[in-house]
């Protein structure tokens, strides 16, 4: 992962041309190269970078002249706040809706669930964000258009960011419930005279939630990616705007640092998801 990021970012262009004033002398250009270590052979740069990264040092930003790790840590809380809010919103709506729609296929709530499921696949989050701003901030004036000052500021970005994962969760739960209700043990429970409510809550729901565990982890990492758009549109001061700015400034040590950070985060999260899966589902442990 470190290798991939290092070389792809190196390939994106020479930072010297962008960072040094146009009328700089060749000597000044050279001095800039030496100061940032760009004069050393690529292999040497790479070894140095690898060692630093493993010690948690992700280098310094070219434009902001601060350690990248410090910049990331500054912005991380805002991104986490947004991503967690979006995740909780997805879960709060998807879990009840997905289960109800699976238990009562064909009902009005099932129709709503299928619509949300489809919306997640068909409405781009950044377009939804713009429409939400138009309707709820510009026309109805219910929420602020951008920034991060109060809980109200969180509503529109969180809704925009949550739609894709909400749709996926609803679809997953619905099909899981439909499958489980055809299982023999559900028929047995029915034959024993167990009430439908108890069957749904005690037998169907816990089993339907198992596949959701793996999706929650994956969706959280996707939200970190999606936050690049949503944060930029809502001027939310998180990692996404930082990445977008770093890109526009060709501040490639910072781009490199952020992508490594997000990827490392995603990989740890995947690992945690696998462990959680083993703990929850005894069947996974035997394999």
């Amino acid at each position: 992962m470190l290798v991939l990021v290092f070389f792809t970012v190196r390939l994106t262009g020479d930072p010297v041309g962008l960072m040094v004033a146009r009328n700089a002398t060749p000597e000044q250009r050279e001095a800039f190269r030496v100061a940032h270590g760009f004069d050393r052979p690529l292999a040497e740069q790479f070894v140095g970078y690898l060692g630093d990264a493993l010690r948690g040092d992700l280098g310094r930003s070219l434009r902001l002249h601060l350690p990248n790790m410090e910049l990331i840590m500054q912005r991380l809380p805002a991104t986490m706040e947004l991503a967690l809010a979006a995740l909780l919103l997805s879960l709060a709506i998807a879990v009840p809706l997905g289960i109800i729609s699976g238990v009562f296929p064909g009902s009005p709530l099932d129709l709503l669930a299928r619509l949300i499921g489809l919306a997640g696949q068909t409405i781009p989050s950044f377009w939804l964000a713009m429409i939400l701003i138009l309707v709820f901030a510009v026309n109805l004036r219910l929420f602020p258009t951008f920034g991060r000052d109060s809980l109200q500021h969180l509503v529109l970005p969180a809704v925009a960011l949550s739609v894709a994962s909400m749709g996926q969760m609803v679809r997953l739960l619905r099909s899981a419930v439909l499958e489980i209700t055809r299982e023999d043990y559900i028929r047995t429970a029915r034959a024993k005279g167990v009430s439908e409510i108890v069957i749904t809550l005690r037998h169907v729901t816990p089993n339907a939630l198992i596949p959701l565990v793996s999706v929650v982890g994956v969706n959280f990492t996707y939200m970190l990616g999606g936050s690049v758009y949503i944060e930029t549109i809502f001027a939310w001061p998180g990692l996404g705007t930082l990445l977008n700015d770093a890109f526009n400034d060709s501040d490639f040590p910072l781009v490199q640092a952020i992508t490594i950070f997000i990827a490392a985060f995603a990989i740890s999260l995947n690992l945690l998801t696998d462990i959680a899966y083993d703990l929850i589902d005894p069947r996974a442990r035997q394999r």
Binding site: T8, L11, W127, M130, I131, L224, Y229, F247, I262, A263
Partner: protein, 284 residues
């Protein structure tokens, strides 16, 4: 009547999906005939006008004009070309790379498998957008390079699917039989394993195509896809964002076009999946 056709006629969703996709494809093919104006044709006197039915709208510009006086409807029509080209060829390339890697990894096993699986798992652990964002600037911003970007970054999804399917098929009696007859590995992979993968592959290709329409728009939106002067839905949205509060029609229609296209492809994808997977045939 073939099963697929029977299924299509009894599924309103599939019919709607087919109609939508056909419309979008025809729009892309006949953009020159359909669009009232050229994609970059416009005069500043007609700039910044809303839709025809609005107060300041012009009769000739049904969906309004942008800040340069370019016709929004015409641009949305021309954009179908870029989006569909990227989605179609991107998925084709991704599946070609993915199938090659997945077949070799699944069938040959050993070191090949360790290498391919390692790379695939690594790439899949990145949030897809972040992966595209770091790869995109390396390739530059031509239509061809955008297709390359998506073809390469999306290949792991196909490789994973194919490898899994091959691992399942490899132990079956018919494969053991042809191997016993002395068939070389390439022959088993191409003639005996690949045909059995067509179903899941076509299904995945359809869904990935709708995902790619999304990702292309997203990449354009960040200014990393085709250059701004090429009409693409994402470029239109990126531009519209700057004028969101004053000229909202610049953002509404390109997004609507993305959503309708993705909607159609998805409905079609559901149908393809039902037809290709015989296990689902009796499910409902």
């Amino acid at each position: 009547m073939p099963y697929g056709l029977h299924r299509l006629l009894h599924d309103p969703g599939a019919i709607l999906g087919l109609i939508l996709v056909t419309l979008v494809v025809l729009t892309a093919l006949f953009a020159d005939q359909l669009a009232p104006f050229g994609p970059t044709e416009g005069s500043l006197t007609n700039a910044k006008r809303p839709e025809t039915w609005q107060e300041r709208g012009l009769p000739g510009h049904l969906l309004g004009t942008d800040q340069l006086g370019q016709d929004i409807l015409s641009r949305v029509i021309y954009c179908a070309r870029v989006s569909l080209t990227v989605a179609f060829f991107g998925v084709l390339l991704a599946s070609a790379i993915g199938v090659t890697l997945g077949l070799s990894a699944g069938y040959l096993g050993g070191r090949v498998d360790a290498l391919v699986s390692g790379a695939v798992n690594l790439l899949l652990s990145f949030p897809y957008l972040v992966l595209v964002i770091i790869v995109a600037p390396v390739f530059g911003r031509l239509l061809l390079t955008v297709i390359l970007i998506f073809g390469i970054t999306d290949a792991p999804v196909f490789a994973r699917l194919v490898r899994g399917e091959v691992l399942r098929l490899r132990g079956q009696d018919y494969v053991t039989a042809v191997r016993g007859l002395g068939a070389p590995a390439w022959r088993i992979m191409l003639l005996h394993l690949l045909p059995n993968l067509v179903g899941p592959l076509v299904t995945l290709m359809t869904f990935e195509m709708s995902a790619m329409i999304f990702y292309e728009a997203g990449l354009s939106f960040l200014g990393l896809s085709v250059p701004p002067e090429v009409p693409s839905w994402g470029n239109m949205l990126a531009l519209g964002r700057s004028f969101l509060y004053i000229y909202p029609w610049m953002s509404i229609y390109p997004g609507l076009a993305i959503s309708l296209t993705a909607f159609g492809v998805n409905l079609l994808g559901d149908w393809v999946r039902d037809v290709m997977d015989p296990r689902l045939r009796h499910a409902d």
